[in-house]
Point group: C2
Chain length 400, copies 2
């Protein structure tokens, strides 16, 4: 299982002025978020942070540790505003919303945000949500109860649906929150919206379980951990919890295979495991170039099986999903039948579908597998399914 996880080292939010080097500095020094949050809330936040800073500095004798703590500063109480990240709590204080601007290096050749950038932003907002919670015991995101029990969070499943890709410079608002998942797990959801129009661009959901940090085995959730996190659970779902369709395990009969993939130094995350984004890159690189040119990913499901370390040699398998095409073809036929019943002509259906059987317009689906090539057996890292739709002629920049 990959640790797309709750690692969270956090920064100083020190509000004292050290502006001697530039008279303009104070302009940026107190960014406040106006609106329903009151001045007293803001002050409380700043005061809380200053207290934390002082306390931390006083308990460490070693000069280096002091500096590091000053630079990270984990809040010991729940925060409602994060000035620097433009984040606030929502959903009565238990959800988190962050405003982000799509940066120039987060877009691909078509000038829309890449899937990798979207996954990065999901990770980032999840971490910032936890930072705001005041639950952190260490810099790595474990709660007090988790630390005591040597537990960490690991993600077992991730699903993202993308209706529209944000363009370079576009302002987004990302909401994230957590909810219950059985006795021992937790789900985290996200909604990505255009700040300008409120239109939902993407939805995501993920399932998390607990792992013992030392044995690397999954663990039950201790009562004290449940007591810590349950107050944060809400009932809202970004994507309905349908019974998930099984992702079959591919074998060497898969149509596309990339072998001998070796993680590079720059592919490792803070855990020294291959990062989630690299997994997705390896998956997508098996898909034929002409599909990537003419289509855009509209959905991805990832089922994590084990971690991939820096010395593992990886194989990426990919197979187009014939069944998916068939189902989709039937669905379109059904829609067409419905249209006929409703008085629409078959011709309209043909025009919409791009062909009588609709095979040109239906979403394409691929099944994926990343595995470690072992000497005696292969070990699964992650199974995946991607869904694609034809780029519309109005996709931003598609004609440029």
């Amino acid at each position: 299982m990959a640790t797309f996880s709750y690692l969270a080292y956090f920064p100083v939010r020190c509000s004292s002025n050290r502006d001697s080097y530039d008279p303009n500095k104070q302009k940026l020094n107190n960014i406040k978020i106006n609106g329903t949050s009151t001045k007293s809330t803001t002050k409380q936040v700043e005061a809380g942070v200053t207290t934390t800073f002082t306390a931390v500095a006083s308990v460490t004798a070693n000069g280096y540790m002091t500096e590091q703590k000053v630079r990270q500063n984990i809040p010991t109480t729940k925060q409602s505003v994060d000035h620097f990240r433009q984040g606030i709590t929502i959903e009565g204080g238990v959800g988190y919303r962050q405003r982000v601007v799509v940066r120039s290096y987060e877009v691909g050749p078509d000038k829309t945000a890449t899937l990798e950038s979207i996954l990065n932003l999901l990770q980032e907002t999840a971490l910032n949500h936890v930072w705001m919670s005041g639950l952190l015991s260490d810099g790595f995101g474990a709660t007090h109860g988790m630390m005591k029990n040597d537990l960490i969070w690991v993600v077992s499943r991730m699903q993202v649906q993308i209706d529209q890709y944000a363009i370079w410079g576009e302002v987004l608002e990302i909401d994230t929150w957590v909810r219950a998942s059985g006795k021992n797990g937790m789900k985290r959801d996200w909604l990505i919206r255009s700040q300008a129009t409120g239109q939902v661009f993407a939805r995501a959901t993920s399932t998390w379980v607990m792992m013992n940090r030392k044995t690397r085995r999954l663990s039950k959730m201790p009562e004290e951990v449940r007591a810590e996190i349950a107050p944060w659970f809400i009932g809202k779902q970004a994507i309905a919890d349908d019974v998930p369709e099984k992702i079959v395990k591919l074998d060497n009969k898969a149509k596309y295979v990339n072998s001998d993939l070796k993680p590079k130094r720059s592919d490792l995350d803070m855990n020294h495991h291959v990062n989630n984004v690299k997994y997705v890159r390896w998956m997508l690189e098996t898909i034929p170039e002409h599909i990537l040119e003419s289509h855009q990913l509209s959905g991805i499901i990832l089922e994590y099986r084990r971690e991939c370390g820096s010395s593992d040699i990886v194989q990426s398998l990919c197979d187009p999903d014939e069944e998916g095409m068939l189902i989709e073809g039937l669905k379109q036929q059904e829609n067409r039948d419905m249209n006929l019943m409703n008085g629409f002509s078959l011709a309209a259906g043909i025009l919409e579908g791009g062909g009588f059987l609709g095979f040109e317009k239906q979403p394409l689906r691929y099944t994926h597998l990343l595995q470690i090539n072992g000497e005696t057996k292969n070990e699964e890292i992650v199974r995946g399914r991607t869904t694609w739709k034809k780029k519309s002629p109005t996709t931003p920049f598609s004609s440029m």
Copy 2:
């Protein structure tokens, strides 16, 4: 020459409320920057933006174009505050300062910002500076005069010095400004500082020239373009303009060679050229693993020769710089002699240097070359030099 350039598509900054979907939304809807900037300035900015938005929307009949313009919104007048990016003008209105938080995916296994992230942030702040200028004629960063003459900016040289690497979650302030460079060029500088302490973490400088978009040949700067941009020039230098030491061209005698490097789809920028960060990754991947483990990059110089397209096959050459080692050894010997003259003992020198000749502590230097393997001849993409220093025992997280 690589187009690490002034491409600039920019977002809507529309301040109207469309909050029906969530009562919390308004909390984030009016982020104001308090301090010396007055309320009237803020209002003026918002009014300017709203006007631009309306004007753009009214001149386009095509629904798609309208939507795209709404999402990008290039200001037609100079702005002094960018709420969403936490940016302000400095240096009397001609420089730019942006506050950024180092994100979880911008750090490497040692939890410090990667060189790639730093280069990305330099690009981002440069683009945002241009956006604020109100000089943009199109979304791609050309001024009105440049558009008229089919000119684009290309970078010919880039130098970055890094004293300290920011850690995950650390808040940075990045200043950037432009200055004159001969008759036909421009320089852009950056300073990266810790927001908490004001300490300068990194300095960077770059040289830019004009290229004809159609012929892809370098061009003189027309008078009208000079008149547009010269008011933005200031005299400040982030790194002193010394006569640069020549970077020799490596050949197949180089100690380390990685061949057959093929750009992937995810390596391409909005120009469909290989992005700058990928160049640096290819360069650094030739350096032995034990050096990357024990050292950190303290300086890099890149001299761009030509663009690299998606179908080029690239070779990365790297050679340790013996001369650099010798010069540094002599410098250390000189320091030791000075110390002796000043009454310090030789033993102290040995302790500091880590050895009598100081060869264990001196910065390592490497010369780099990326070239395209052609059938008849090789073509240079970029020459580089990297300087490295031993990671100090107090480097954050180095022992983890």
